[in-house]
């Protein structure tokens, strides 16, 4: 019997490059980088078949730190470039990384179409609600009133909710996590990776220099349990430090409301059970904002459909079977030909 050398088990550090990481000390991006490297090691993904594509911004530096193939492109266009990569070679495992400006402002159109087409990539949206690399201007996800160098009197714009945008665009996988949820984030990333088709993961990320504490009202240790609901398919939407709060349908059935569960409250049966294939529920969960609601974390929506790249290649294969082998001479002669003697 042949003795086979067991394949070397890759560690998280094997997915790190020798390049010096150049984010500000304390940036949430470090934690996300670690979570991604840990996830890839857990999944033992082959490094040479993995490609990280990014646009421009702090988050977009990500590929330089991943020991995989990587393409740092131009502002907003990572999703479009990744679409080309998957068209040319659907075998590649493609991750797109971008910030809120890259993905929802200059590249908003490409994000919409990547999700609508259902290109088989994982799109990681690092949302810090600010432009970091250009030194602190408000972003499309900044809340009204945000003070920044370009909005000295406060922003008067209405922000985009990334998860709602993704659902509205027809995304088949929409999830949310945060840089500081070090146990939660890798699990969400694994689900995103397993999903065939476009999977959007919004990762709430703290910019320590320009927007420090933007999420602390629901991410700080003391308030986390009461201000976040971690959704799981098939489980009731219960949260709170004492697991005594839940989400139920309001009387008219078109909205969620927070209810006290158990003693002095409603019966557990009244609490909505998370169904990740229910797009309407996903919308309701995506739009919940403090202080009246907890922020929903986890896989809000997952309902797979054939991916764009798979359909394109299947169509090409069918055409090949129907039309036979390619023959350049035959192609040149297509249409009406005549001979001059």
């Amino acid at each position: 019997m042949n003795v086979q050398t067991p394949p070397v088990k890759l560690q998280a550090k094997d997915y790190a490059t020798d390049q010096e990481v150049r984010w500000c000390p304390g940036c949430g991006d470090y934690a996300i980088l670690k979570a991604v490297q840990r996830t890839l090691a857990e999944l033992q993904v082959p490094r040479e078949k993995t490609v990280f594509v990014s646009g421009i911004g702090c988050a977009a530096r990500f590929p330089y730190y991943m020991e995989t193939y990587g393409f740092h492109t131009i502002h907003g266009r990572a999703s479009a470039i990744a679409t080309g990569v998957k068209l040319a070679n659907p075998e590649l495992d493609v991750w797109v990384v971008g910030g809120d400006g890259d993905t929802l402002s200059i590249g908003g159109n490409h994000t919409l179409h990547l999700l609508r087409r259902n290109v088989d990539v994982q799109l990681l949206l690092f949302n810090n609600e600010i432009y970091g690399l250009t030194k602190g201007q408000y972003s499309p996800t900044s809340r009204p009133g945000t003070l920044s160098p370009s909005t000295p009197y406060g922003s008067v714009e209405s922000p985009i909710n990334a998860a709602q945008f993704a659902l509205g665009a027809g995304g088949r996988f929409v999830a949310r996590s945060s840089d500081i949820l070090q146990k939660h984030l890798p699990e969400v990333l694994k689900r995103a990776h397993a999903h065939r088709g476009a999977s959007l993961v919004e990762i709430l990320q703290n910019c320590i220099v320009y927007n420090d504490g933007a999420f602390s009202h629901f991410t700080d240790k003391g308030v986390q349990a009461d201000m976040q609901v971690h959704v799981e398919h098939g489980k009731p939407l219960i949260f709170g430090a004492n697991a005594d709060k839940g989400l139920r349908l309001s009387a008219d059935g078109l909205a969620l409301e927070v209810a006290k569960v158990g003693e002095g409250g409603v019966a557990k049966e009244e609490i909505v059970v998370h169904d990740e294939k229910n797009r309407t529920l996903a919308f309701l969960l995506a739009q919940m904002q403090p202080p009246s609601f907890p922020v929903a974390m986890g896989v809000l929506y997952c309902d797979p459909a054939p991916s764009y790249d798979a359909l394109v290649w299947a169509q090409a294969e069918t055409a090949k079977k129907k039309n036979g082998d390619p023959d350049l001479a035959k192609l040149l002669k297509r249409g009406h030909t005549w001979t001059v003697a």
Binding site: T17, Q19, R47, E48, K49, V51, V53, P63, Y64, M66, E67, T68, Y69, G70, F71, H72, T73, I74, R77, A80, I81, A82, T83, G84, V85, K86, L87, A88, N89, E91, L92, N109, H110, L112, H113, V312, Q315, A316, A319, K320, N323, G324, D325, P326, L328, A329, L331, L332, K333, R334, G335, H336, T337, W338, T339, V340, A341
Partner: protein, 624 residues
């Protein structure tokens, strides 16, 4: 009877033999003038004529019926000699309504024949065309024109009566009636058109029958009716064409075939990514069905996504190609810069149209040469090629694939609205004899870094993601010449910028020296052209050389880098004339590169040059 005249056995009239003829069909955009012209073209080709065509259609898909902006026209020049342009002035104009007459009649030759559908000259149509009185009656048309008034509408309705169509449907066959008549005028066989109608209207017996009946009726009218004195019948013998297998191609057809041939010769999959824009979209349509030729097409959400996806495809080991017209290419500029910085192959086909901004989308121009050569931020060199005739697109398409892959560089291919739509006969090349294009993906890990350059070409290696042991990252940030890692070192940026520029300039050593298309190397005057001005320049120079003038024609395919001998070659003429459908863009490049006192001849009317315009400029420069 003279030898040059033949008698049609079915006609009492003698047919006059012609060397060449220019015919234009003009009508409402719903009148099927483009189809009529295409059929006439095919039949002329089958009769052995050389030919060139010029379709001229309105921007509106269905402009209001009868208006001047709804006029669609198709012009063909066909002959017993080599045909180089679609013709200056018309021998025959077929005008299906007053709007077609008013917008086209000025192009008729003195003494030319103008056939009108008198039935369409009703008050409503006259008003829409802007005629106060009926020009067929009021004597306002030129005296030396041979006006042939036929009520084609009525005759068509009569001919198709047995098929029980509505009046509206029946009148749709009017174009076939006109075509039948013009077929009779030139003694042409109707069989190819009948066959085409049979395949087009398969299963629609009534419509098929009506069209064939109208075609035959138009023809029969010529044969049997008592023709007005203005009418005449001609014969245009076959041209001395090199033997071989032929088909007609438009510039779009030939470009699609050239790109497919190139990628197949290189053993690559093509990823063609585009966004609809006039007049470039037809290339996407031509390539989309060719899936068995390893052609994947992607209609992107916008121009930027189209070029970005093409770059992504090239990164993944296919050949990414995008196409557009000037405004779309402007949007692609930043991404082309990325392809330059990461040194990936990319082909950008620009079907130029009249600008700036939206300009005149359906009209031709050559005004994107600056954009192609210079139009990006940073010192961002690309290779630029230009197509000079519809069939030349085949060669240029293959050449673009060769250069893009060998030099790991974007190649911009300039064609234009005239070339993409114009058709000409094309002698098919032997597919087995096309030269293979060597493309080698790097797999060797020893000594690898992503920007390690080939000493001869300065190209970096092409690596497919998925290749073990060659994992690396690339990006738009400046890279170290020695390691490929990000570098902001001052001397390194100088070195990398120089390397990128020298790589593209080095292509000049890998392309043919510039030849003189017609005439001597050196002399009194060189006429230098590029792109679709080939036809009129060629004919004008030919005509004047036959008249004994010392003038030569030089036509450029390689716009950047320029051929290595071009400066010396142009320096050997006392004068250089550069006719362009722009305000002098190649002229600027030639002056700047070679310090030449060249002169421009510039036309931006949305129409190709007339031969006469170029002849006049040559004569003026020769001081005669």
């Amino acid at each position: 009877m003279a030898d040059s005249a033949a008698v049609d056995e079915h006609s009492a009239q003698a047919r006059q033999e012609l060397d060449s003829a220019v015919v234009r069909f003009a009508g409402d955009s719903g009148d099927g003038m483009q189809l009529t012209g295409s059929q006439f073209t095919l039949t002329a080709a089958l009769a052995g004529n050389d030919l060139a065509t010029f379709p001229d259609f309105p921007a509106e898909i269905r402009a209001p019926v009868g208006t001047t902006f709804g006029v669609s026209a198709f012009q063909i020049n066909f002959g017993a000699r080599t045909i180089k342009t679609s013709g200056d002035l018309l021998d025959v104009l077929v005008a299906m309504n007053p709007a077609a007459l008013i917008t086209n009649v000025a192009d008729l030759k003195p003494g030319g024949i103008c056939i009108v559908d008198a039935g369409a000259f009703n008050e409503r149509n006259l008003v829409k065309a802007g005629y106060k009185t009926n020009p067929l009656e009021d004597g306002s048309l030129a005296d030396n024109m041979r006006l042939v008034k036929i009520d084609m509408s009525r005759l068509t309705l009569e001919a198709v009566k047995p098929f029980g169509l509505s009046q509206k449907e029946a009148l749709r066959s009017k174009n076939m009636w006109a075509l039948g008549l013009v077929y009779w005028m030139y003694g042409r066989d109707r069989q190819a058109t009948v066959k085409w109608l049979e395949s087009r209207f398969r299963g629609k017996d009534g419509i098929l029958g009506a069209n064939v009946a109208a075609l035959n009726a138009g023809h029969a009218f010529g044969e049997t009716a008592e023709m007005p004195a203005e009418m005449a019948a001609f014969t245009v013998p076959a041209a001395p064409i090199p033997p071989g297998l032929y088909r007609t191609v438009t510039g779009t057809d030939a470009m699609a075939l050239g790109l497919v041939a190139g990628t197949r010769l290189a053993g690559l999959r093509m990823c063609f990514c585009s966004y609809p824009i006039t007049p470039a979209s037809s290339l996407l349509h031509a390539l989309a069905p060719l899936k068995e030729y390893d052609v994947l097409t992607f209609q992107a959400e916008d121009e930027i996504a189209a070029v970005a996806a093409a770059i992504g495809a090239s990164y993944a080991g296919s050949l990414g190609i995008t196409s557009s017209s000037g405004p779309g290419v402007a949007l692609k500029g930043e991404a082309i810069g990325l392809a330059i910085a990461v040194e990936l192959p990319l082909i950008v086909v620009n079907a130029q149209r009249a600008g700036p901004s939206t300009g005149m989308p359906t009209k031709t121009e050559q005004s994107d040469l600056y954009q192609a050569v210079y139009g990006r931020n940073g010192d961002a060199p690309v290779c630029v090629l230009a197509v000079s005739s519809p069939s030349d697109s085949f060669e240029v398409g293959m050449e673009a694939v060769r250069i893009a892959t060998k030099y790991m560089t974007p190649v911009i291919v300039l064609t234009d609205g005239y070339l993409v739509n114009a058709a000409e006969p094309w002698r098919l090349p032997d597919a087995a004899k096309l030269k293979p294009i060597d493309v080698a993906f790097r797999t060797e890990a020893e000594g690898f870094h992503p920007f390690l350059r080939d000493q001869a070409t300065l190209a970096r290696p092409w690596v497919k993601p998925g290749t073990p042991d060659l994992i690396h990252r690339i990006g738009g940030l400046e890279k170290s010449y020695d390691t490929g890692h990000i570098s902001y070192m001052p001397a390194n940026h100088q070195r990398m910028t120089d390397a990128r520029i020298n790589k593209v300039l080095g292509i000049a050593n890998d392309i043919p020296e510039q030849a003189v298309d017609n005439g001597a190397a050196g002399g009194r005057l060189a006429v230098v052209g590029w792109g679709s001005t080939y036809g009129p320049i060629s004919r004008a120079v030919d005509n004047l050389r036959l008249a004994g003038k010392d003038v030569s024609h030089i036509h450029l395919r390689h716009i950047w880098p320029l051929a290595r001998n071009l400066g010396a070659l142009l320096g050997s003429y006392a004068k250089v004339l550069v006719p362009e459908m722009n305000k002098g863009q190649l002229l600027t490049v030639l002056r700047s590169e070679f310090l030449l006192p060249a002169e421009g001849l510039n036309k931006v009317t949305g129409k190709p040059f007339l031969i006469a315009e170029i002849e006049a400029a040559i004569t003026r420069l020769l001081g005669e």
